[in-house]
């Protein structure tokens, strides 16, 4: 299996990588490049090189996980590339092959998968009050803490249909619809992806001597030195 060929099976790689001239237009306005030691131009250059060894390194590195997928790069590239799309394809492949567990930022795929696919399959939403805890999101401020503590009242005041039947804000999504989502996950590879991320993460947790709760906290909260531009 050639990594480059695998990558190019992904529509996002096909769309995102035409020919790159290393002009740096993407990096110039990249929010991630300003914050992290990151350069989307270099990602494009490595993929374009078709150097299997370099691509494997990339898939196992923190580098591909720095992007925020804002897609600002797509607007500006003079060659109609989309570095953000190539990043998505790289991440997809890294997840499939389990290479994401080789890097700290890659390992964050475990908590992300747990939170987001959990919310979708359990509630039908990507973000949901029951799992958006103030303790994990202190930046959400005292007002969010208050909102969560009185959510029945605050939602009622604003005419939401929180956990209610029928349409409306934060309604309860009918079980039949949730079942359909689960079924979609099963037939489209969503479930398989969750299982793969869990399998590789378990192996990594074991290697790191952690149980899955510890691994979750570690990957969700811990950041090492050396990722940031400001750390030179």
């Amino acid at each position: 299996m050639k990594l480059y060929d695998e990558l190019l099976k992904d529509y996002r790689a096909k769309e995102g990588l035409k020919t790159c001239i290393n002009c740096g237009t993407c990096t110039a306005i990249c929010p991630a490049a300003e914050f992290y030691k990151y350069d989307p131009r270099k990602v494009m250059d490595i993929v374009q090189s078709r150097d299997e060894e370099e691509i494997e390194k990339l898939l196992k590195s923190d580098f591909i996980w720095y992007c925020g997928e804002c897609m600002s790069c797509v607007t500006r590239c003079p060659r109609k590339n989309g570095p953000g799309l190539v990043i998505m394809a790289l991440r997809n492949l890294s997840a499939r092959l389990g290479y994401f567990t080789f890097s700290e930022k890659g390992r964050q795929l475990y908590p992300l998968t747990k939170i987001l696919t959990g919310n979708i399959l359990n509630y039908g939403y990507c973000v949901y009050p029951d799992t958006f805890k103030w303790e994990d999101h202190k930046e959400s401020g005292p007002v969010w803490k208050w909102h969560l503590e009185h959510i029945g009242d605050t939602m009622a005041r604003l005419g939401a249909n929180f956990k209610g039947e029928g349409p409306g804000v934060l309604r309860k999504i009918p079980q039949k619809s949730l079942d359909e989502l689960k079924s979609i996950f099963d037939v489209t590879g969503g479930t398989e992806r969750i299982e793969a991320v869990n399998k590789f993460s378990k192996a990594k947790a074991e290697e790191m001597g952690m149980d899955m709760d510890e691994y979750f906290r570690e990957t969700f909260e811990h950041t090492s030195e050396g990722h940031l531009n400001s750390e030179d």
Partner: protein, 339 residues
């Protein structure tokens, strides 16, 4: 000789070809849509590499071609293909039967407004290469403030090598023009910091590399290898430019008093219009399609139709003049062959 030769376009290619054809004994007809001769070069101030005044070249060409039949403010209304000639109807009502058509329709300057992210026509301190030449000629442009010119940037490849702008071609002359203009500005504002943002520096012509060396060594112009991604405006009206210095791999942000966009050469829509009337093919880059892009650049695939200059793609002034002379010779031989 009374053979009609119609030259479409009174820029330097048309004028040079006309002058040569006059020398060869013909009396060519020049059709020019604007009210003056000399085309884009007439708007320019100095030409690289020897800083020769553009007006000297243009006035000498005009003098040498003065005996041609010249129609200013005239466009081609339609072209009828007859058996072995063309009937060309002009906007002034005159119609000409000719066996020889020389296209010297040149190029259009890329409309810099279209690179929206560079803010031309939106941010006060953004101008084009052409605007700057105009300032060199007249000293009149409110964007240039003689007392506050501390930092100036030049953006290469504006509308060139840009698939989004639907122009994938290199405009060839902008790299050297940027260096020329950077030096000229530096001469006028010796304390200003001057930046050139480029993707590649294409210093292919005679003495271009020397120019580049001068710019670095004698004028301290800073070359940043990165394409400008975005321009914004500060509260004081200065422009903020974002690029990546790709050689160091670091995003750079500079605040400038003036930003000059090196608008590139794109095919002239009027050229395409005439080409359509005369059923001339257009190449994949939008410029007129030659019989062969190596051996027969000045010949069209159509009998009796010839090209010279930037109507077939970006050209420098000397290249254009050389093609005009070659086209004149080709036409001469063609007519001889007809006899």
């Amino acid at each position: 000789m009374k053979e009609n030769i119609v030259i479409v376009g009174g820029g330097i290619a048309g004028l040079e070809a006309a002058a040569q054809l006059l020398d060869l004994g013909f009396k060519p007809i020049i059709i020019e849509k604007s009210d003056h001769l000399g085309g884009h070069v007439a708007d320019w101030n100095c030409l690289f590499p020897d800083m020769s005044p553009a007006k000297d070249i243009v006035s000498s060409l005009i003098a040498r071609s003065a005996d041609a039949n010249i129609f200013l403010n005239t466009e081609i209304s339609f072209v009828n293909k007859l058996k072995d000639s063309y009937n060309i109807m002009l906007s002034n009502g005159i119609s000409i039967i000719t066996r020889i058509l020389l296209m010297t329709t040149g190029f259009s300057l890329f409309d810099a407004h279209r690179k929206e992210e560079y803010g031309y026509g939106i941010y006060d301190q953004v101008m084009t290469n052409k605007d700057l030449e105009h300032w060199f000629n007249t000293g009149d442009d409110k964007r240039i403030n003689n007392s506050a010119m501390n930092a100036v940037g030049f953006v290469h490849c504006v509308g060139s090598r840009d698939e989004k702008a639907k122009n994938s071609q290199c405009s060839k002359v902008c790299c050297i023009t940027a260096i020329k203009q950077a030096i000229e500005l530096k001469q006028k504002f010796p304390d200003a910091m001057i930046y050139c943002f480029y993707m590649d520096l294409r210093m292919f012509g005679k003495k271009y590399e020397d120019f580049y060396i001068n710019a670095q060594r004698d004028y301290g112009i800073r070359f940043i290898r990165g394409r400008v991604s975005e321009v914004g405006e500060n509260i004081d009206g200065r422009v903020i430019v974002k690029a990546e210095d790709t050689l160091s791999g670091k995003p750079v942000k500079v605040t400038l008093d003036l930003l000059v966009l090196m608008a590139g050469m794109v095919c002239n829509p009027d050229s395409t219009k005439v080409a359509n009337m005369a059923s001339l093919p257009v190449d994949s880059d939008g410029f007129l399609k030659s019989k062969d892009n190596v051996a027969d650049i000045i010949e069209s695939p159509k009998e009796g139709v010839f090209y010279a200059g930037a109507c077939t793609g970006p050209k420098t002034v000397p290249e254009t003049l050389a093609e005009a002379r070659a086209a004149a010779l080709k036409i001469y031989l063609y007519i001889k062959g007809l006899e």
